[in-house]
């Protein structure tokens, strides 16, 4: 096999976010055809580096230094080259797989059309890979649009479409975020067999998931730390955390009895129901950390939204204290009934995707004060309370005066957790809460949540796919599918 020329050369390449230096790389020149992973704490700039290498860096970033891709000057003296140069670079081949993978799909095109646009002539390859590694039959989804398939299915299809392009340079940004445990194992198998190790592709990956990195056949491991790119000989051990011992004998908290959830789909002869899950029975005691696991699309997030009473089509009873939340609020009409308002303030959520947890054009501080106003000026936002929580999980206080888009995904996720804890809720619902947070910071966040739980005797439910969370945080694990009876019909 002929030697592959070095496709990436960075020299004195630095990126500033406004006044803050994110990183300054003296020289980075991975060998062609090799695989490199960049690890580092949340907010260290891993994703920014990948986006810069993909030519996708925009917004409040300032670039200095030079970058050569495929022997073309992509950046010279901090200036991005013109469109013609970038066209030549992209024509030689770059594939960028973003952390929120589904973003790569055009929502106005069917999956089949997206495939033709992203990697023409690769349909047989995509079909084989989806079937072999993800047990998905692409033909079944080909005519559907991205919003017509579940998030998990869309992520798997998008991953395979993007990774089936003929590009020589492949960038992967936190590729395992949102993949459940089983899928993660299969994805590792796929990467090792078909992308890494002598396949001729130069792979650059950003990941904080050390377990994932350990399982891959990688040539080089780097760490972005102290604004420098450092070579790592050996991966550090996971930041172990001692899980508090609790047998789940606290007071009874939230009880879900025979809960079923359906959504309505528009059919040829009117709306018809599509069931997310049926006959769910589960209870959660106070001061105990419950983990909900299960494959993508099994209904975990629907359960969380049902508890929050933000979806229609819930039947059964969800009891908090001595009140049935379903009876208090049967339908979501964009406003809560007066009887439900006290319960609204007792519930808080940290969503899978925290990028949309704060108003887009308001500074974080202003978004927090808006909650005060929505609650009738009850001083939810107290500077001291919020900043103490931020200090605890190593979030810079200055972020309060930033717009949401200036925060990294990990910072945004932690800010969302701060917001949830500052509201002092009775029930905390965490839906994949640590997906964008590195293991070291994650241990701090887990400790902050545990401290809150102990102090307030709250109810905590964590939906998670990650072994790390189950090993170091969750005290009782519920397999969602073992708690539902989807085979039995729901009485009208």
């Amino acid at each position: 096999m002929s030697a592959v020329p070095d496709p990436i050369v960075l020299e004195n390449f630095s990126v500033h976010l406004k006044d803050r230096l994110l990183f300054n790389i003296e020289r980075f020149q991975p060998k062609g055809g090799t695989s490199t992973v960049i690890t580092g704490t949340t907010g260290s700039g891993k994703s920014v580096l990948l986006r810069a290498l993909a030519g996708l860096l925009s917004g409040p970033f300032a670039v200095h230094g030079s970058m050569r891709l495929h022997n073309e000057a992509a950046y010279a003296d901090g200036r991005k080259s013109d469109l013609t140069t970038w066209r030549r670079i992209l024509h030689t081949g770059i594939t960028f797989v973003p952390a929120e993978t589904a973003q790569a799909m055009n929502p106005a095109l069917s999956l089949e059309q997206n495939l033709r646009l992203i990697c023409p002539d690769a349909r047989p390859l995509v079909e084989r890979r989806l079937k072999e590694f993800f047990s998905l039959d692409f033909a079944r989804f080909a005519k559907q649009y991205p919003d017509e398939v579940s998030g998990g299915e869309l992520q798997r299809i998008t991953l395979m479409i993007l990774l089936s392009r003929t590009a020589e340079l492949v960038y992967l940004d936190e590729p395992t975020v949102n993949l459940d445990r089983q899928l993660r194992k299969r994805f590792i198998d796929f990467l090792n067999k078909e992308i890494l190790g002598g396949q001729g592709k130069t792979v650059l990956m950003a990941s904080h998931d050390l377990d994932f990195v350990r399982a891959l056949q990688l040539d080089t491991i780097l760490r972005l730390e102290g604004q420098k790119l450092l070579t790592v000989d050996k991966l550090p051990e996971n930041a172990a955390r001692v899980k508090e011992d609790d047998q789940g004998e606290g007071a009874e908290g939230l009880v879900l009895t025979d809960v079923s959830q359906h959504y309505k789909y528009r059919g040829l002869f009117g709306d018809r129901p599509s069931w997310a899950y049926k006959h769910l029975n589960v209870s959660f005691r106070r001061s105990h950390i419950y983990g909900i696991t299960g494959p993508s699309g099994c209904g975990k997030t629907s359960m969380v939204r049902g508890i929050l009473r933000l979806v229609d089509g819930t039947s059964g009873t969800i009891t908090l204290g001595d009140q049935d939340l379903v009876a208090l609020k049967t339908r979501e009409r964009g406003k809560d009934p007066v009887a439900f308002l006290p319960f609204r303030r007792r519930l808080a959520i940290v969503q899978q995707d925290s990028r949309f947890s704060f108003f887009p054009d308001l500074k974080i501080r202003e978004s927090l004060t808006q909650i005060d106003k929505a609650w009738g000026g009850t001083e939810f936002y107290q500077e001291a309370k919020v900043t103490a929580l931020m200090d605890k999980i190593q979030l810079r206080r200055g972020l309060l005066d930033n717009l949401p888009r200036a925060l990294s995904s990990g910072e945004m996720k932690r800010m969302d957790i701060v917001r949830a804890l500052a509201a002092e809720p009775d029930v905390i619902l965490l839906d994949e809460p640590f997906a964008h947070i590195d293991f070291e910071t994650r241990a701090l966040v887990m400790q902050a949540i545990s401290d809150y739980l102990k102090a307030k005797a709250a109810i905590l439910i964590v939906v998670t796919h990650e072994d790390f969370d189950l090993q170091y945080f969750v005290q009782t694990e519920y397999d969602f599918l073992s708690r539902v009876r989807n085979e039995f019909p729901v009485a009208p």
Binding site: G334, F356, D416
Partner: protein, 265 residues
Amino acid sequence: MKKLFDVLGWVAIAVLLSPFVIAWLPLGGVSTGLPAPWWHSLLLSFRQLSITLTATVVVAGVITLGLGYLSILQPVVGKVTAGVLDAVESVPAILVALFCYAPVAVALASHAGAYSTNLSLAVFIFAATLTSLPEAVRGLALPLGELYHRKYSVSMRSYGFPKGRILRVLLNSKAMRDVIRRTAAGILLKTLVLDTSFSFIIQVGMGANGTPAHTSPGGLIAAWRMVLLDSSSGPPELFWVPVGLLVMVSLAFLLVLGNDKEAAV
């Protein structure tokens, strides 16, 4: 550099829209070498066009904002609105304009002067609003619905913000302001095309100067089209100058429409 390009872009748009400003300047004594009646008609037609476009974008814009907001706030309103607007969209715009003029044809014929001009203008604004609404409402409601349902609803609703308030904040976000700007450009472009084509057809078919009591550059182009075939009727500039000016202003709207800023969220 990007800022400089942005500024240059807006300067280019301002230059391209300058005919609307120039039309209102007192240019009585300016000698152009072209017939004075033609020159007067050109200024008059661009004055009327600027009034038509301004009034239509204000009326259609307000209705679009209201319907777009209500469509997401109340899904029932959204379904009914979509049904009605789909029906309107299935009829060609020029036919909609003709249907709108039909009930007032007698009133237009039996009155002269300001009454007729104002009535004609009102009818045309109504027709232009009607024809531009389907695309405009869809163009606004889809991204607003996307922002609400797929991005912000769960998080914001879980903290007690009512849907109406979340939608108002989102409507005022940078991403939606870009959408509103492009929607306005779309309304202007569609109204310009309707005004020009409608008055062109009326002029060719009826021989009057422009639409009923409503002067337009389209009518002027139709009236002077013969100069292209018969040089004794006048210089070809009489045809090409209004064409060029219309191309300029259309290009300005297209530039605003195509200025698809990266979503701010």
